[in-house]
């Protein structure tokens, strides 16, 4: 869960593992304050989401290759195709940080918008609008890629 959120958000295995390790070390220090396994799960998701966003922000400040600059993949694929999966992951990576983390938490972690709002400390309305906007954008770009309408 922890590694996967960072990996899907940053698309860099090494960095994701490093951040996940950091979060687990912090968890060890925080453990006496966490009351239940559910609380631990919530804390882990929250910590890795914020740490990943901080990392992406710092990366941009250092003028390295920004994730938003990842080009759309040039593939032609049909639904349920592994190539489409890869293309979708790249398209997700091209979303702005704030929308990308919402999409990852919604579709990887299967969290409800209320849970995402709670986790990221933003309003439910903001989560819903980011999801709606991101889905529209992803659908549009994916349609362009495969050349046929997507439901």
């Amino acid at each position: 869960m922890v590694f996967s959120i960072a990996y899907r958000f940053l698309r860099d295995r090494a960095v994701a593992e490093e951040l996940a390790q950091e979060v687990f070390l912090r968890l060890y220090r925080e453990l006496p304050r966490l009351q239940s396994p559910e609380h631990v799960k919530f804390w882990l998701r929250k910590a890795i989401s914020h740490r990943s966003m901080d990392y992406a922000r710092a990366l941009r400040r250092r003028n390295e290759v920004a994730l938003e600059e990842v080009h759309e993949p040039g593939v032609s694929a049909t639904p349920s195709d592994p190539l489409l999966d890869a293309a979708l992951r790249k398209l997700v990576a091209s979303l702005p940080d704030e929308s990308r983390i919402v999409v990852v938490l919604r579709y990887q972690e299967d969290l409800e918008p209320t849970e995402i709002a709670d986790l990221l400390g933003i309003s439910l309305g903001t989560v819903k609008s980011r999801l709606h906007r991101s889905l529209g954008l992803l659908r549009q770009k994916a349609q362009r890629l495969i050349g046929e309408p997507i439901r």
Binding site: A20, F24, D85, Q108, L135
Partner: protein, 118 residues
């Protein structure tokens, strides 16, 4: 969820970290524990001690506040009693003054009658 969302969910399914990730975390954890200063380790070893000291501080603060409130309450009672005494003294003085005034009036009216008969 519609087809597109299902596809997205499939594309974003969880991935596992590389093998040995858990061992690496445990190694780093052990390193961190050995590097931590003795004082800090002792502090973490006795969370109850922290709890007890926090409670002691809380009790001190609360008893200080209670003492102050009581002190103020006692002062208020004393002030009220003093006020009542002053009021009583004033009332007594007032009634004595009235009696004296009446006597003076009586004396004055007696003198006036004598002058008239003369």
């Amino acid at each position: 969820m519609n087809d597109f969302e299902e596809q997205l969910k499939h594309a974003l399914r969880r991935r596992d970290p590389s093998e040995g990730f858990a061992d690496l975390v445990l190694t780093r954890l052990a390193e961190e524990r050995s590097q931590r200063p003795v004082g800090e380790r002792a502090w973490n070893l006795w969370p109850r001690l922290r709890w007890v000291s926090a409670m002691a501080v809380l009790i001190l603060v609360v008893s200080g506040v209670v003492y102050k409130v009581r002190e103020r309450h006692d002062e208020e009672i004393e002030a009220r009693a003093a006020k009542q005494q002053v009021m009583l003294a004033l009332r007594i003085t007032g009634s004595k003054l009235r009696i004296a005034k009446q006597k003076v009036k009586a004396v004055e009216s007696g003198e006036a009658k004598t002058e008239n008969t003369l």
